[in-house]
Symmetry: C2
Subunit: 489 residues, 2 copies
Amino acid sequence: MPSLAPASRVADLVLPALPGDGPAYARLAEALRRTIVDGRLPQGVRLPSERDLTGPVGLSRTTVTRAYAELRAQGYLATRRGSGSVVQLPRVPGGRVDHLLTPAGLGEGALDLTVTAAAAPAGIADAYARATEDLGAYLSGTGYYPSGLPVLRERIADRFTARGLATTPDQVLVTPGALAAVAITLRALIQRRDRVLLETPTYPNAIATLQGAGARVVPHPIDHVDHDWEVAALQRTVQQSGARAAYLIPDFHNPTGALMSSAQREEVGGVLRRHGVVPVVDESQAELALEGQPMPEPLGAHVPTAVTAGSASKSFWGGLRVGWLRVPRSRMDEVAASRLQLDLGVPVLEQLVLGHLLDRADVILHEQQARLRERRDTLLLALRSQLPDWQVRVPAGGMSLWCRLPEGSSTALAAAARRYDVALAAGPNFAAAGGLDGWIRLPFVLPPEQLQEVAARLVLAWEDVVAGRAEVGRRDAADRGERPRSIIA
Amino acid sequence: MPSLAPASRVADLVLPALPGDGPAYARLAEALRRTIVDGRLPQGVRLPSERDLTGPVGLSRTTVTRAYAELRAQGYLATRRGSGSVVQLPRVPGGRVDHLLTPAGLGEGALDLTVTAAAAPAGIADAYARATEDLGAYLSGTGYYPSGLPVLRERIADRFTARGLATTPDQVLVTPGALAAVAITLRALIQRRDRVLLETPTYPNAIATLQGAGARVVPHPIDHVDHDWEVAALQRTVQQSGARAAYLIPDFHNPTGALMSSAQREEVGGVLRRHGVVPVVDESQAELALEGQPMPEPLGAHVPTAVTAGSASKSFWGGLRVGWLRVPRSRMDEVAASRLQLDLGVPVLEQLVLGHLLDRADVILHEQQARLRERRDTLLLALRSQLPDWQVRVPAGGMSLWCRLPEGSSTALAAAARRYDVALAAGPNFAAAGGLDGWIRLPFVLPPEQLQEVAARLVLAWEDVVAGRAEVGRRDAADRGERPRSIIA
């Protein structure tokens, strides 16, 4: 039985989205459609019965019934025997959304906005040079450190402790990045077909990783306009779904840039704790506060069972490919065993490099933050002046803007942008249960002059979309075929 | 219905193993027991009926019936309704075999023989230095190369082509080692609960990786005394099991050191091809021919669907953590997508290092082979003079000896050796379906003087085993608990 979206909740979501004119049933249908497409009423959720919705929305039963019928005709609602009206998404023209988009095949001078990762910061070459000197001491051994170099595990533990989550080195596992850390964790944590909650929107590769680990995905729509984790809805979803684990990005959430407040951490932590849901916390962007603001304590500080994944890829450089896990002591054996099914450890040299980077983290991160702040502001300014009807909330951290398009589809925009040699990850890639085609993620990781060029090309692409010149079907045809797959990161 | 071991096959295995004296039924029971413990009649196989076995073994039905009854009493046979007599293994005292042994917790001066990996060869520091120089050109990018650096993929492809398996760079995926390569492949290749054949004995971590990918393991006992892949039995097992894939180590098999002949490659390849079984070929030790002999063509050259995994860990150094996959072009999309669920690529620097190592591979591998040959001969000589009743076949390549103990159990030997600060991986760790407690793997990766010391300590441990002073139960108690898990590699 699909989980029910209570009538009061649906009314709260739908009433602010009602368009200004047209017959009442059509306005309600359109408001519901927008809410569905935005991912806030995710695929698979059951709507209240027509009768139950009448009161909360203040419309007659006939009107609600006609609105539901309209949505059914448009393909947004399925009627399942005994389950009432269940949200679904119409088939995307050209096929299903591919969570592993293919931005490759671009020409010279192309601008790739599918990866939120920047060039290496100053200081990295120095760290490599020092690590290469250290390496000599390790060459006489086999080089196998399946849980990580002791010296690095200690540094990582100390950083957790300093952030308010007391950690000892034996709780730390060094991994090939945060995604690998999540893959390792899920295999230790869940049985096949267990339900795992995740935010929508969310990080696209995590969706694939969850599914690859056999999880059934339970989407939890967060309010990505107001950056609110919607604790009451979370509580209901957790209760109704029986989720065993939850993949969460509380620290400059990808793609929205949202930062969970300390108060919400306590509430969210309480819900998870009370229902025995293990949070798998992705802290990849936690070091990227762009306003010099102090960060809230790690979400893991509120839930003793939490497993926390971190990475050097965003804070320092993606080419390092080093991440880590912080695991409750009682689970360490399982997680370490799970890791040995996937890989036997991270290269010695990269671990030494990360050690040196952490030694100088204050300086390097400060510069990295300043660099990203400048780029964020450059892109924001360009968008505001050239695409003023795109809505953007200024993120206080992270590496990307999450923009609402005034109309049209981000899939169409991505297709149009490709003709101007810009690779974009359209909104639906970030949707755990469909929708979000009205949104686009724009990373601000390229140098300012390139971001200016991004904006200029987006203007051209957007003109094509508005004029109906974008051809979505061709994008799909071009994406399948000769090109190597790539990633959204 | 468990697959049947034909009576003629059982007779072939059992007759040479008959002990010299005692009543006929007891001799047959003992011969069957030895064959089971050796892994050549694996757990789960159905023995022929008592009546069917009488002819081939030349014994009366009463004798065979008494022998089966004896095995049942000892716990080696289970009678399942409608399935006849099915091979099983008695419970190991102290619990089940752990495929992820814990050799850690050894004292100073301890000798770790659980990992077949050597110290880095000469020339590696130079490769790191050159790679660090190259790195500058990559620091201005994001560092994400999920399929591998083009320049490295090209070199790897060329090496396959030179070995007789024509390969283009787009068929190569760079991975964090061979085990990760296998984990990636299985997730693309098989559905949950598909059957996957693997040799027994085999590489212990591969067993865990197969199981982690949801495979049901189909053991194929190879003749590890005569280094024969038993093609007729393979054909039967493939037919009876419906295996979809097969994990195989034809090139200096781990742990036996066996090298599949060119003729057997053709036969094995034919069986797999005809039955649509996809071989996942682990070539980790293919570059470690120790007699300067020419190598047979890759097994993948006989089966177009083959996926081949390789690694720098054995040929060069384990601390690099770089491996690769060679994939048929038609499957590349699936495999590349599978990889993105597990990790987003290998560090840029390690890929550059491997590139430089491959440039000088002839020289470096020649020295690596010479070094291993000397160590192999040192350990062989020490064993022959000090433990002359241990049987060892000289392996023509690889990194370990596979020794048959004259009596007693390798689990007991490993427990005894631990008291002399030697960590051993006992035979059962290499068994895909139980057995092999009469065998022990001894890597020859340590320097000669340490291998002399290994032999001296093994003599002491062996004396304890023979005198009944080894306490297996205590090993298990000590292994669980405070120590971090480690690996067998």
